[in-house]
């Protein structure tokens, strides 16, 4: 497989993310009944398939995957947290889908057609009431923005990382965020034919991206639980996708952006979240200054580095494949003279960078002579290695291409 194909084709990174998730399912086999493991597989495999063929994903997949994830969470009866998380997911995403359906209906009523490109062409004629499409267009985009998890819709992502198992959360979040981005792509198709709509959609996406970066940066620095930090990093990735769409929306067909940026972004997200979420479970939460390091970091420092590499890539630390995704968007914003959004992106990136460096320092902590007796289970460490090695391969492929 050539370096270019490795970067463009999401199959390998998504497959590795699925392998990492399956390793975790295997490691939990004593705690979870067989039916529970099979139930998880029924969610993980569709999520991976969605990510592998994201460019072909249709509208209906977003509510379906949401329902699957909520059902998987609701099955976890030993712990009340997943159930609460499922309830919240249904409230928030269900509400967003309902409001978006209202937006669709309003646009269909105003134009008499249901396909988005045709709707924009009709609206360009100026025969419909401005008030109707001005309210309907943002409502129609709402589900995509909420699925991407940018602030102020960022809480469900962090909740999922805290409430769901480390096997389920990364693939579920990556699939839902990827579907959110594709939702917006499908909705914005052909918008370049309707100038006023393109201006409004561009402004909405820019505002949503700025809010995602600024609120994400602020909350990230205040987060105490490592799992929620990973969730906020994922919501910053949602902001990144919003910024990518803000650059491209209304400027022509989005197909190139989807294949060149969005699909690799979602694949990278799945792999980086797999390592990051797992590492978060093994990192001490809010330790005192100068406290000894975490169990994993003291007993298996190399495995900890593999997990840290995934976390670094998620935050866009230079030298990781994730950094290239941030850089491409920054270049696009600079080329289009969007300094306001670029400032917000820079602040989000710096906050992410500072957070992962803090994670590294807190993880290793102060040296201690006491070596933990029990080792971290092999499948867990193998999952960290799978995600770290997959990202390293992506990084090498980028280097080769440069």
């Amino acid at each position: 497989m050539s370096a270019r194909a490795l970067l463009a084709d999401p199959a390998l990174p998504v497959a590795l993310a699925l392998v990492a998730a399956l390793l975790l399912v295997a490691s939990e086999r004593r705690r979870r009944p067989l039916s529970g493991s099979l139930g998880l597989l029924l969610v993980l495999v569709p999520c991976a398939l969605v990510l592998a063929r994201l460019d072909a994903a249709g509208w209906i997949l977003a509510p379906l995957v949401t329902a699957l994830v909520a059902a998987a969470l609701a099955r976890e009866s030993q712990d009340p947290l997943p159930g609460e998380c499922a309830l919240k997911l249904v409230w928030v995403l269900g509400g967003a889908f309902a409001l978006t359906a209202v937006g669709f209906a309003l646009l269909a009523l105003a134009t008499g057609v249901t396909a988005p490109p045709e709707q924009w062409s009709v609206l360009q004629l100026g025969l419909s009431q401005r008030m109707v499409w001005v309210v309907a267009l943002p409502l129609a985009l709402l589900a995509g923005v909420v699925l991407l998890g940018g602030a102020p819709f960022h809480f469900w992502v962090a909740d999922l990382f805290q409430g769901a198992s480390a096997a389920l959360a990364p693939l579920a979040v990556a699939a839902l965020q990827g579907l959110g981005a594709m939702w917006l792509v499908r909705r914005l198709a052909g918008l370049e034919g309707f100038g006023d709509g393109a201006v409004l959609a561009g402004a909405l996406l820019r505002t949503a991206a700025i809010a995602a970066f600024l609120a994400g940066a602020g909350t990230l620095l205040l987060q105490r639980r490592p799992e929620r930090r990973v969730g906020t990093l994922a919501s910053l990735q949602g902001g990144l996708a919003l910024a990518a769409l803000a650059i491209s929306a209304g400027r022509g067909p989005l197909d190139t952006m989807v294949t060149a940026w969005l699909v690799p972004w979602a694949a990278h997200l799945a792999l980086a979240l797999s390592g990051g979420a797992l590492l978060a479970r093994l990192t001490p939460a809010d330790p005192a200054a100068g406290a000894p390091g975490g169990h994993l970091f003291r007993r298996h420092p190399l495995s900890a580095f593999a997990g840290l590499y995934a976390l670094f890539s998620l935050a866009g630390v230079p030298g990781t494949p994730g950094a290239a995704l941030w850089l491409e968007i920054a270049r696009g914003l600079a080329t289009h003279g969007q300094s306001g959004l670029l400032i917000a992106l820079a602040l989000g990136w710096l906050a992410a960078f500072a957070t992962v460096m803090r994670e590294l320092r807190e993880g290793f902590g102060a040296p201690t002579a006491v070596r933990p007796e029990r080792s971290v289970p092999r499948p867990v460490r193998a999952a960290l290695w799978v995600s770290g090695a997959g990202l390293a391969m992506l990084g090498v492929a980028r280097l080769v291409l440069q």
């Binding site: 923005v145 205040l222 230079p318 920054a330 820079a346």
Partner: protein, 444 residues
């Protein structure tokens, strides 16, 4: 995995390796090298701090070192994202100008913070390094890195006028405060740490003034900073430069001449400025130089010989050879500056020597007082006043910074509430929907 623990060096060499690598990277011209260099320096201090006897104290104390590294990562990222039209990314000129300014601010921020020129972590030179037993000299690494950063990254910030002028003012203030603190401190090692800050700050002002080519400023800085760094390091190894009257005088002269040489071009070039700025430069630059010269001469107290019969040693020992090397750079640098066009007006060239000569002469008088008692008492009062003035300035700065921090905390409290993870966040969802779907479109 156990074999790894044998491969990892102990905390002292590991921190040293990280710092050495960081120092080398700061000098490299690669895009991300300075950021990585300062990050490694911060990692070195963290490594030492976590392995110290009091990690709970030392780790937070040196955690500010990540701030300059972050500023440099931002600068490097800006350069990567905005490489200019030649790289195939046509960026609008207004955007390019704005981000070039941000890049210059980020670089100068990092360098100034390392040079103790920002009120955030200014008094770090009062503290010994994180390794209490070995590290009295460790904080001296930071101002040195700060100046090297200013020098190596000069093309990225010297062209931005407002950044250059603001940094010159901040560095001059830092030089004054550092000289004041060096004068006020009783311990020679603490005074030397502040003299290293003084050297870096003064060299930074020289760099931003453009009085001499950058490399001349660097050679003069190496002379002054090298002298103080050597003295500081030697204090941990028997204080050889202070043993015996000849050595003490040799190092006194070296320290005084190198400091005078570093300050002289800055004051001499005042003749080319408007009368008001010339007076300001002579006063604001002259007083710290005089004070630093006094400290250089008067505080280097001769240490008694430990042996009743001094052991005969060769002349070729580092303590005797180093002054020759450090002093040798001074005429070389000044002659080169003159060769490339540095020609101050004669009156100002002489005036510029006055602070250093005055400070040095008064320092010699303090070493060998004509009348014991009265002078010493006046000196103690002046030292006490210097300490109080420094504490007052630092106190004011701290009050301002803590006020600003408290304000940010108050403003950030809702952010914490935004992310509590409880079910009330559903209200936030509704607010988000209202703003995005109704308010924003209607406001347009």
């Amino acid at each position: 995995m156990r074999f790894l623990s044998h491969l990892v060096p102990g905390p002292r060499p590991a921190g040293g390796l990280l710092c050495a690598a960081g120092f080398a990277l700061v000098l490299l011209p690669a895009r991300f090298a300075p950021a990585l260099g300062v990050e490694l320096l911060a990692a070195g201090f963290w490594w030492w701090a976590r392995a110290s006897e009091e990690p709970a104290f030392q780790v937070p104390r040196w955690s500010w070192l990540r701030r300059p590294a972050t500023a440099l990562w931002l600068a490097a990222a800006i350069e990567m994202a905005l490489p200019g039209p030649t790289a195939g990314f046509p960026v609008p000129p207004a955007t390019l100008a704005f981000w070039s300014r941000v890049e210059a601010i980020a670089i100068v921020w990092a360098a100034l913070e390392l040079l103790a020129a920002l009120p955030l972590a200014r008094p770090f030179s009062d503290l010994p390094g994180p390794l209490i037993a070995h590290g009295a000299w460790l904080p001296a690494l930071l101002p040195a890195t700060g100046f090297l950063l200013l020098w190596r990254q000069a093309p990225r910030w010297l062209d931005v006028d407002e950044v250059r002028e603001a940094s010159a003012v901040l560095l001059l203030l830092t030089a004054a405060l550092a000289a004041l603190r060096a004068y006020g401190r009783r311990r020679w090692t603490a005074g030397l740490r502040w003299l290293v800050v003084f050297d870096g700050a003064l060299a930074g002002v020289l760099l931003s003034s453009g009085a001499v080519p950058p490399w001349v400023a660097v050679v003069l800085w190496i002379g002054a900073c090298g002298t103080h760094a050597y003295l500081l390091a030697a204090e941990l190894g028997g204080a050889a430069p202070r043993r015996g009257p000849v050595m003490a005088m040799l190092w006194r002269m070296t320290s005084w001449i190198t400091t005078a040489a570093l300050g002289w071009p800055l004051l001499a070039v005042a003749g080319n400025l408007s009368p008001r700025r010339a007076v300001l430069t002579l006063v604001c630059g002259g007083i710290p130089i005089a004070l630093a010269s006094w400290v250089n001469v008067a505080r280097l107290v001769e240490a008694p010989e430990r042996r009743s019969l001094a052991r005969p040693v060769s002349w070729l020992i580092p303590s005797r050879m180093t002054p020759a090397v450090l002093l040798g750079g001074v005429p070389l640098a000044l002659a080169s500056a003159w060769w490339v066009g540095f020609a101050p007006r004669p009156l100002f060239a002489l005036l510029a020597l006055v602070p250093a000569v005055l400070g040095g002469a008064l320092g010699l008088l303090a070493v060998h007082p004509a009348e014991a008692g009265r002078g010493a008492r006046a000196g103690r009062i002046a030292q006490h006043a210097a300490r109080r003035l420094f504490r007052l300035v630092i106190g004011l700065e701290r009050a301002l910074v803590s006020g600003a921090t408290r304000l940010v905390r108050v403003l950030a409290t809702p952010l914490r509430d935004l992310h509590t993870g409880d079910a009330q966040e559903y209200v936030l969802f509704l607010v988000g929907v209202a703003v995005l779907a109704i308010l924003l479109p209607l406001l347009r």
